[in-house]
């Protein structure tokens, strides 16, 4: 869909055209569902969230600044919604992320890390992601799936920008540990001390 076509479609949705709304939904709902599927722990959560996000989009469309890419705005709405959903379920910065603060950061052995990547395909990674704490999973999805900037991630997750890098690195460590554990015998092998 070209930029002009999209602008025309959005104008029709703003004017209350149900068919245009259906077209817009049909165009973007699959992508948003896929995003939610990665950001939220279960498929049912993702289904509910997709519906709720599009209800929000319809309400908020008047606030959309057409000088910005629509998809970026859409993902911003989606990520905010997913994070709100997660934090309503449990205390934000809960104990699991509190534990992260004290987790020793050992540097990986590059060869073991590469071996880990070879041993696990996308299904393993997705399964591993589901086992991560909410904030760690969100950080990885926002960065490596939605390609958000550090500023956008900080804004969405409500953390300082300087903390985003730490968050991502910790999340990578956790994912490595989860995958190593599921792989059997690899736990701890990917990490080693380095002076």
């Amino acid at each position: 869909m070209s930029t002009a076509e999209l602008a025309d479609l959005l104008a029709q949705v703003r004017a209350g055209d149900s068919d245009a709304w259906g077209d817009l939904y049909g165009q973007y709902a699959p992508a948003i569902f896929r995003f939610c599927r990665r950001a939220l722990p279960t498929r049912e959560d993702a289904e509910d969230a997709t519906t709720e996000i599009f209800m929000k989009v319809r309400q908020k469309l008047g606030m959309y600044d057409s000088s910005r890419p629509f998809t970026a705005w859409l993902y911003k709405v989606a990520s905010n919604h997913c994070w709100d959903t997660l934090r309503r379920r449990r205390i934000r910065q809960d104990l699991e992320t509190g534990d992260l603060e004290t987790l020793p950061l050992e540097h990986p052995d590059p060869s073991q890390l590469e071996q880990l990547q070879m041993d696990h395909d996308s299904k393993h990674v997705r399964a591993g992601l589901a086992k991560l704490p909410d904030r760690a999973r969100m950080a990885l999805v926002l960065r490596y799936y939605s390609e958000m900037s550090y500023d956008e991630i900080a804004d969405t997750l409500g953390v300082r920008r300087a903390f985003v890098g730490v968050l991502l690195l910790r999340a990578r460590h956790q994912l490595r540990d989860v995958l190593a554990e599921s792989g059997g015998g690899l736990q701890g092998a990917v990490a080693r001390g380095r002076s």
Binding site: R34, Q93, L100, L105, L113, E114, Y144, G165, V166
Partner: protein, 537 residues
Amino acid sequence: MSHFDEMTCLLYLEGQLDADHADGVRTHAAGCAECRGLLRALQTESVWLRESLEADDESVPARLVQAPEHGGAPWGWISALGLSAGGAYTLWSGFIEPWQAQAAQAGFTQGNLLTMLFFSGAFWKGWDAMRSLMEFLAVGTLGLVVMWLLRRHLRRTTALAVVMGALALMVALPPSAGAAERRTGDPNYSLPAGEVVHTDLIVYADSTRIDGDVEGDLIAFSRNVTVNGHIKGDIIAFSQELRVNGPVDGNVRAFVQNLQLYGTVTRNVLAWAGDVNLDQDARVNGTLTAGSGHLEMNGKLAGDLLAFTGDADINGQLGRNASIRAGHLTIGSKAEISGQATAQLRRPPDVSTGAKLGSPLDWTITKSGPETRYSSARYYVHHVLRWGASFLFGLVLLFVVPGFFFDAVKACGKTAPAIGFGILFLFAIPIAAIIVCITVVGLGVGISAMMFWAIAIYAAQVLVGAWLGEKILGEGAGAGAALGRLALGLAILRALGMLPFLGGWISFVVVIWGIGAVALAIYKNMRPQLAAAAVAV
């Protein structure tokens, strides 16, 4: 040779280092195989993560094929909250209050102020139309809750069938009869002797005179209200003066300047008034709760007396206990108190030697003033307890509504807007609530608004305290850290509040600040709906 750490390497790869720092990494990596290896591994991991995340191995579910047409989930929650209140009322009036009434008949009279003020269904009793509506809404609420819980197991058609079935069932049930007559004075209203109103009577008039009988409740919004007839329900009056000469089978709830009781009240009297006077011919079979400037009790009171008053003169008969907090208390020679009497006073009481007391009057002097307060250990214990209570409230807030809690704490950082909104809301909500209360239908809304306002005032110190703790200790991670910061902030605020002269002002500013933060947090959550409404307009 020292290597760069993994964090620095990741930030380098992600383009997050400044130019000088990035050059340093690049130069070092050119001559360091170990760091090059780490950089390569991290880079590969990034690509691997992206590819794994982008891999599409799931189809879009069928239920998402059709675009959603309706939004407004927050409004749904607001409605559900209101309906839940209806459900709570129904539970109270349908089950608990009858049980309480039986207990009262068995001799266990109502002595709990909270119960009497906020939960006693007698305040609403007799508003059958309102009650029916509330019950209907409560059933609806329960239905909605069940639907929500089962939403994943119900197909759309099934849900529709359940809703329609429930509605049909409710319509088929025999509705409870109930109505109210409304009378507006021109400018005065009078119900002549011999006339009977068979339902509730709601009167708006400059002056109201009831010589006839009312079989339901009498609800009056009037400058002067005089009741000579027989009221079989309750009297609820908002007026300058209320004079009750005739018998009342229910309760008297008076929000007036001057209450004069000459007749018999079968149940209880609750009065917020400038002056409350029970004449020697007056008789109250239940309890008397009075918040007043002056209380004169010359009649007979079968139940308990609970009074917060400037001055109290007791020269009548009390069948049970008396608990009085007053500037001064006089117990005359004709007074008879069968139960125990306790009093907190500013001055020693005057107790006539002719007074008949079941047990000696237990009275204490309440002193005020910084010099007496600060030398009392009780004062500090009291503050520690209040600190504990506010911390407990914060704990509940944090675990029940964490999102709102953090939003409101964050909003405290916007000092100027928070204080601005705080001033606005501190005064605007009570005024709006009073205006809403003037219309009978809005009475529930007005009282709810006032309760929300009171809760917001209490929550203010918690939110500002949490913000203050975070400012001092920095942002923390985890519930434990948040609670630690809350505890510290509340302790500081309580200590500041104890300062002579300044303390009161500081507490006042904290209240304004916190209320403003609550308003900002609410606004943040409501903004999408407001924007949508603006677009719709």
